[in-house]
C-alpha cells in the first residue's frame, strides 16, 4: 500500500496559479473503502457513496487492514469519545480515516460532553484532514499500551479543555505516549482551560490555568515525528511539553513547525522537563516566545541536536549537557499577516531557504513539495 500526492493546479488568464494536493492510496485489491456522511444511516452498507454510514464510529467497527474511510463534510458527535478506534491495520497497511475535504469533517465534543475527540486503542491508524474541537480532555488521546504507527495529518485542533478548573489534571491537543507517532501539518490553538476573564462564570482560584494544558503532551515514545505544524498562542501551558518522568522519548524529530505567540506566564513555547535521547529540533520558527523558544527545565539529554531554527529572541533558556546548537538564527520571520493568522513568509524573510534538508520533511503545511535547501517553519 502506498500514498501518492496528486497536485491540482488552477491558472487564470494572467498566469496566476494556485495548487493543492489530494492523497490517493493505492493498495491491495482487497482493501475496502467505506463512506460516511451526515445524511447517511448506520444500517447502510457503507460501501458506496450512495449508501454511507451516518457515523464515523460505525465505520471504525468494521474496518480491516488497508481500508480507507472517506468522511464527508459535517459535524459528528459521540459519547465519552467522539471516535474510539479499536481496530487498526498493519504497519504496511494502516487503516485510514480521511476527511473528504480538509477540515470539512468535524469531530465535535459537543460542548465538552466528550472527554476525547479521538481515542486510540489500536496501532497502525492514520487520521487525515479532520477538525477536532470542543472535547474537554484531549483532542487525541494516544496513551493505551501497545500503540505504534499512528499518524495525525493535516488536522485543525482547537478549543480543547475549555472548562473552569483549578485542578492539576492537564488537558492537551494530543496526549502522546505512542511509538512511531507522527503529527504533521496540523493547526493547533486555543488549548486549555479558562483563564481569568475568559468566561463570565469562571474565576480561577489556583494558577493551574497558567501551565497545565498543552498543544502536545509528549510523555513517551520512540520515533515520534512532529513536523509542519502551526501552534498559535498555546498560553495555558506550552505548545509542546516533554514531561513524563522516567518514561523515555528517543529518536524524536521536531522539525519545520511554526510556534507563534507566548504564554505570558511561562517561559518558552517548548518545555523540556524529561529525558530526551537522539532527538532533533530543526527548522522551527519561534515567534515572540516569552524569554526563549525552548526552555530546558529538567531531564537528562543525550545526543540532542538543535539546528537551523529561527527565533525572534533567545532560542534557548538553560544550558543542558548533551545538547548541541548549530546554525540557529535570530530575526523577524516576516510573516505575511501574523495578526490575521497567515504565517506564510513574505519576501525577504530570513527563513526562506535557510533550513537544513531532512529526509523526514519532504513537503510543507500546504502539502507543497519543499525546495532544497528548505525554508524554515511550516511553509
Amino acid at each position: 500500500m502506498a500514498d501518492y500526492a496528486l497536485v491540482g493546479t488552477v491558472v487564470d488568464a494572467a498566469g496566476n496559479a494556485a495548487s493543492r494536493t489530494v492523497t490517493v492510496t493505492v493498495g491491495a485489491a482487497t482493501a475496502a473503502q467505506w463512506y460516511v456522511d451526515p445524511t447517511g444511516n448506520d444500517s447502510n452498507t457503507g460501501t458506496t457513496p450512495n449508501a454511507p454510514f451516518r457515523t464515523v464510529q460505525k465505520a471504525a467497527t468494521v474496518v480491516n487492514a488497508g481500508d480507507v474511510v472517506l468522511v464527508a463534510s459535517g459535524v459528528y458527535t459521540g459519547g465519552s469519545a467522539v471516535l474510539s478506534l479499536n481496530r487498526g491495520g498493519t504497519a504496511s497497511a494502516p487503516v485510514i480515516f480521511r476527511s473528504a475535504v480538509r477540515w470539512g469533517a468535524v469531530l465535535d465534543g459537543n460542548n465538552n460532553v466528550s472527554s476525547e475527540c479521538i481515542h486510540f486503542g489500536a496501532p497502525n491508524i492514520r487520521i487525515e484532514g479532520f477538525e477536532l474541537r470542543n472535547c474537554w480532555h484531549d483532542a487525541v488521546e494516544a496513551s493505551a499500551s501497545g500503540l505504534a504507527n499512528l499518524v495525525i495529518s493535516r488536522c485543525h485542533i482547537h478549543h480543547i479543555g475549555k472548562q473552569c478548573s483549578d485542578g492539576s489534571e492537564g488537558r492537551s491537543g494530543i496526549d502522546a505516549y505512542s511509538n512511531s507517532l507522527t503529527v504533521e501539518g496540523c493547526l493547533i490553538h486555543d488549548i486549555g482551560r479558562f483563564g481569568p476573564g475568559e468566561d463570565p462564570t469562571c474565576t480561577p482560584t489556583s494558577t493551574a490555568w497558567q501551565n497545565h494544558d498543552h498543544g502536545i503532551y509528549l510523555g513517551q515514545g520512540a520515533g515520534v515525528i512532529i513536523r509542519n505544524n502551526i501552534f498559535v498562542a498555546c498560553d495555558r501551558g506550552w505548545a509542546i511539553q516533554r514531561f513524563g518522568g522516567s518514561f523515555p522519548v528517543d529518536g524524536a524529530i521536531i522539525a519545520n513547525n511554526t510556534f507563534a505567540y507566548p504564554n505570558p506566564n511561562k517561559s518558552g513555547q517548548i518545555i523540556v522537563a524529561g529525558n530526551l535521547s537522539n532527538t532533533i529540533f530543526a527548522n522551527n520558527i519561534f515567534y515572540l516566545p516569552k524569554d526563549a523558544g525552548i526552555w530546558w527545565s529538567g531531564g537528562t539529554m543525550s545526543n540532542v541536536q538543535v539546528f537551523n531554527n529561527l527565533s525572534t529572541g533567545l532560542l534557548s533558556l538553560g544550558t543542558p549537557g548533551g545538547v548541541t546548537f548549530t546554525n540557529n538564527l535570530v530575526g523577524d520571520p516576516r510573516f505575511v499577516d501574523a495578526v490575521g493568522g497567515d504565517f506564510h513568509l513574505a519576501a525577504g524573510s530570513p527563513a526562506l531557504g535557510a533550513g537544513a534538508s531532512l529526509a523526514q520533511v519532504t513537503d510543507n503545511f500546504d502539502g507543497t513539495a519543499r525546495t532544497s535547501p528548505p525554508t524554515i517553519g511550516a511553509y
Binding site: 491540482g8 488552477v10 490517493v24 492510496t25 493505492v26 491491495a28 473503502q33 480507507v68
Partner: protein, 91 residues
C-alpha cells in the same frame, strides 16, 4: 488580478486497487469575478411595463491541471466538457 482560489480537490474513491480507476474533481473560483443583474423593460402603448432580468458574470477563464509524482505511473485524463474533472487510473 488575484490568484485563483481552490475550494476543494477530492479523489473518489481515494483508495484504489492497482490499476483501479478513480476521479479527481477540483472546484475553484476567481476571486476577481463580479456579477451583475441587468433588467430590461418593455412598455406597451398603455404604459404597462414588463420586466425581465438576466445575470451577467465577468470572470477570468480558469485552466485546470493535475499532476502525479514523476514516474509514479498514474494516467490522468481531463474529462471533455467538464473543467476540473479528471478521469484517472492508478499504476
Amino acid at each position: 488580478m488575484a490568484t485563483p482560489i481552490i475550494d476543494s480537490i477530492v479523489a473518489s474513491p481515494s483508495v484504489v486497487a492497482p490499476r483501479g480507476a478513480f476521479v479527481v474533481s477540483i472546484v475553484a473560483h476567481d476571486p476577481d469575478s463580479r456579477s451583475w443583474t441587468l433588467t430590461g423593460t418593455v412598455t406597451d402603448s398603455t404604459g404597462s411595463p414588463i420586466t425581465s432580468s438576466v445575470a451577467v458574470t465577468v470572470s477570468d477563464s480558469l485552466t485546470y491541471g493535475l499532476t502525479a509524482p514523476t514516474g509514479s505511473g498514474f494516467t490522468l485524463t481531463p474529462r471533455a466538457g467538464s473543467p476540473g474533472v479528471f478521469d484517472c487510473v492508478a499504476p
